[in-house]
Symmetry: C2
Subunit: 170 residues, 2 copies
């Protein structure tokens, strides 16, 4: 948990609003569904399979117990889960000692895309969470195949200046 | 400090060896020089300027005090600084609850490149540090302009599957 963040928070969209709050263990099934809800995620093994529930539960407890990490879930007025993302605050030497905020695992439910949920969440990250956490750089990586997501981040003012490399261990 | 890592460690190269050890406050001038030692870093403001020493010192103390981060420096037999990098262990939900190891700020002194130092350091990350930290994915981003670095990571088995986005705050 990133204790400097004021949560839950209501976020206005073009139409209506959502509530962004800290995820907890009761959100496990919703988080598993959101993580599996596109073909690219599914191709990496995120299939919301019951067989993986123990691994996801352990990960959820690790993330929520970590003082440098925040696991978030966005819900509508009926508490229906719409989206998730994870934030990690990382101190660093480069860029004159910049502390960074990394955003991972941004997922909006496939039946809710283009409603402005992603925009509202990322604007909160850059305009509210980043200053509250005293970071000077927000960063994320997005699979090269997610061309719609790249246009989305471009529009928000993110600069796609880097290549992201992954190495699977073992 | 990532206490699960056994450091310092000797790393063999094609010719000779280097010692990889935890950085401390006495390494500040060397780290500032290494971080500034290429045009891309310099263009982002890492100029080893005395005016920035306090910011770098604060960052160094933050990183070395953090239980999820490790700041490393590679030195030769005469304790001459050759290279640096930072590791961050990040628990996460995606990829079936994968814990990741992020590598940031990899810098090899410009007069030491192509000597195998980078290879020795990254092989230690993937083959020794990653298992010791129980992570299943090592990840990093590299500026699109660093085409030599991209070939280097490709050769090591990293997959450049992602685009890295940065958003400067404020």
């Amino acid at each position: 948990m990133l204790s400097a963040l004021t949560l839950p928070v209501d976020l206005a969209m073009r139409s209506g609003h959502i509530t962004l709050r800290r995820a907890d263990e009761s959100d496990l099934p919703a988080l598993m569904r959101l993580l599996s809800d596109d073909p690219i995620s599914a191709s990496r093994g995120d299939l919301a399979s019951d067989a993986d529930a123990a691994a996801y539960r352990a990960a959820l407890l690790n993330v929520t117990a970590d003082p440098a990490n925040e696991l978030l879930i966005a819900v509508d007025a009926a508490q229906h889960p719409l989206a998730t993302m994870q934030l990690t605050r990382i101190p660093g030497m480069a860029r004159r000692g910049a502390t960074r905020l990394t955003v991972e695992a941004v997922r909006v439910s496939s039946d809710q895309r283009s409603a402005g949920i992603g925009t509202a969440m990322m604007r909160w990250v850059t305009d509210v969470a980043a200053p509250a956490l005293d970071v000077s750089l927000v960063q994320l990586t997005s699979d090269e195949a997610r061309t719609d997501a790249h246009r989305f981040y471009d529009r928000l003012g993110f600069v796609g200046s880097h290549r992201g490399f992954k190495y699977p261990v073992g």
